[in-house]
């Protein structure tokens, strides 16, 4: 009797995707799904932009018509507008999944929890990055800040890092709080203290870009920001998210 090999045939082995490739494919699929949902619900994007704009205006009322004080605080106001806008978008991103128990459907497919996290976190990050081309010029005008074009590119990079630092823990906590009552209160309570290092790094970096950097400190603050981003993206995505969404 011929020996039966325990190994699958060559063509089956070649067609079975590796773990990394599967994760990347699933992450890309989730990302596309969320971006498509955002595109279809464009009114929500408009609402978030309006909210960010109103926030920037309110800060100027809080400080008063002192252009020097407004210019000095411009970086902080921009980061706070980003933070407040992020809580709106993060809580919405999991509201989609709660409708008709879509999240359970995804997990049963099965979609790996890590891929689900990175897909949704990337979608939220991109969404927040889309706010920058609108909110930054508004802030520059309202707070009378003048900036060179190269400085604008650096500002957008810091904005992207700040958005990434907010969305990683935000996606983790949004996944948990979306299933609770008073989720709109609980998400900020959990998220805001956690992202203070990200806020600190991004405010310092943006302030150096907007107001000048005579001591060349921009690199160290950007590095601090990037370090926290890395810690949160690894900790929240690879280690904790699967526990957060299991029933």
């Amino acid at each position: 009797m011929a020996e039966v090999s325990s190994m699958p045939p060559q063509d089956v082995r070649e067609s079975r995707p590796g773990l990394v490739r599967t994760l990347v494919t699933q992450t890309w699929t989730i990302l596309r799904k969320d971006l498509l949902l955002e595109w279809r619900g464009r009114s929500r994007m408009v609402s978030v932009v309006l909210f960010g704009t109103v926030t920037l205006v309110l800060f100027s009322f809080a400080v008063g018509p002192d252009s020097t004080a407004l210019r000095a605080g411009a970086a902080g106001f921009l980061v706070l507008a980003l933070l407040l806008s992020s809580t709106l978008s993060l809580s919405e991103s999991f509201r989609f999944e709660q409708e008709q128990r879509a999240l359970e459907g995804l997990l049963l497919l099965p979609v790996d929890a890590i891929a689900l996290f990175y897909g949704k976190a990337l979608a939220s990050t991109l969404f927040l990055c889309l706010l920058a081309p609108i909110l930054v010029p508004i802030a520059l005008v309202l707070y009378s800040v003048e900036m060179e074009p190269m400085a604008l590119a650096r500002l957008l990079l810091v904005w992207g890092l700040a958005a990434a630092g907010l969305t990683a823990p935000g996606t983790l906590y949004a996944a948990m709080t979306s299933r609770l009552r008073s989720q709109d209160v609980l998400l900020p309570i959990l998220l805001f203290p956690l992202v203070i290092p990200v806020l600190l790094g991004s405010v310092k970096a943006m302030a150096l870009i907007l107001l000048g950097d005579p001591m060349s400190q921009l690199w160290s603050w950007t590095l601090l920001l990037a370090t926290f981003d890395l810690v949160y993206w690894i900790l929240c995505g690879m280690l904790l998210f699967s526990h957060a969404i299991e029933e």
């Binding site: 823990p169 983790l172 906590y173 948990m176 709080t177 609770l180 009552r181 008073s182 609980l186 309570i189 959990l190 805001f192 203290p193 956690l194 203070i196 290092p197 810690v231 949160y232 900790l235 929240c236 280690l239 904790l240 526990h243 957060a244 299991e246």
Partner: protein, 228 residues
């Protein structure tokens, strides 16, 4: 006869050591060269800080084990450790505020050590807030363990920030540069507060376990009167 729980002995020992350490610190230890008698608050302030960070570190470990094993005793321990850590964290901020008022002239400063300590308190308050909104016991245990692990990111920041950044707060001292009469009450009170913390954690963990048992068993049925 009700058994005298082991943690009561630990608590009694801790309180006794606290009395000894505080007496030496207030009466026997010399005043500090620049701050004088104001410096004596150090003998509770520094041990409170150490104890808070020890409690949070223990909570971090308990959270990992709770997630790994799913056993309710680790969730109960987690609650005790977080709450006790928060008590010492709040004490540390109050003591620091009093000391700061006397030496820096302000109740509060946005110095990195003070700011990260306040953030630490807010982070773990958030973990307890999360617990209060989750009704399912297993989900509550799992999610609060996750939140505790993420919140722990701030604790090393609190400890090392005075070395990484310029700070109004002093850097950690070494016993070799401190008068032995100051080292003794500091170490004694540190051990004392850790023992008191163990006592509080154990009591709180027992209470949490009992609450969870009641939750799982449910309320006892009411006996309705029998109507003919």
């Amino acid at each position: 006869m009700k058994k005298f729980a082991w943690e009561h002995w630990v608590g009694i020992l801790g309180l006794a050591l606290l009395f000894v350490g505080s007496y030496v610190g207030l009466v026997v230890a010399p005043p500090e060269r620049y701050m004088g008698d104001v410096q004596r608050i150090m003998y509770v302030h520094v041990p409170s800080a150490w104890t808070a960070m020890v409690c949070y570190t223990a909570a971090f470990v308990a959270a990992i084990v709770s997630l790994w094993t799913g056993r309710r005793r680790w969730d109960a321990a987690l609650v005790g450790m977080i709450e006790t850590g928060m008590v010492f964290n709040a004490l540390l901020l109050c003591q620091g505020s009093l000391w700061g008022r006397a030496t820096w002239g302000v109740w509060w400063d946005w110095d990195v050590r003070l700011t990260t300590s306040l953030v630490m308190l807010l982070l773990f308050t958030g973990v307890l807030a999360l617990r209060s909104f989750v009704e399912d016991a297993e989900q509550r245990a799992s999610w609060s363990a996750i939140a505790a692990i993420v919140s722990y990111v701030d604790v090393p920041l609190v400890y090392f920030c005075v070395r990484w950044w310029r700070s109004l707060h002093q850097v950690q001292s070494s016993p070799e540069t401190v008068d032995p009469l100051m080292v003794f009450p500091l170490r004694t009170n540190a051990i004392a507060l850790v023992l008191v913390a163990i006592w509080l954690i154990a009591r709180r963990a027992r209470l949490e376990l009992r609450r969870r048992q009641h939750e799982e068993v449910g309320e006892p049925e009411r006996r309705e009167p029998i109507h003919d």
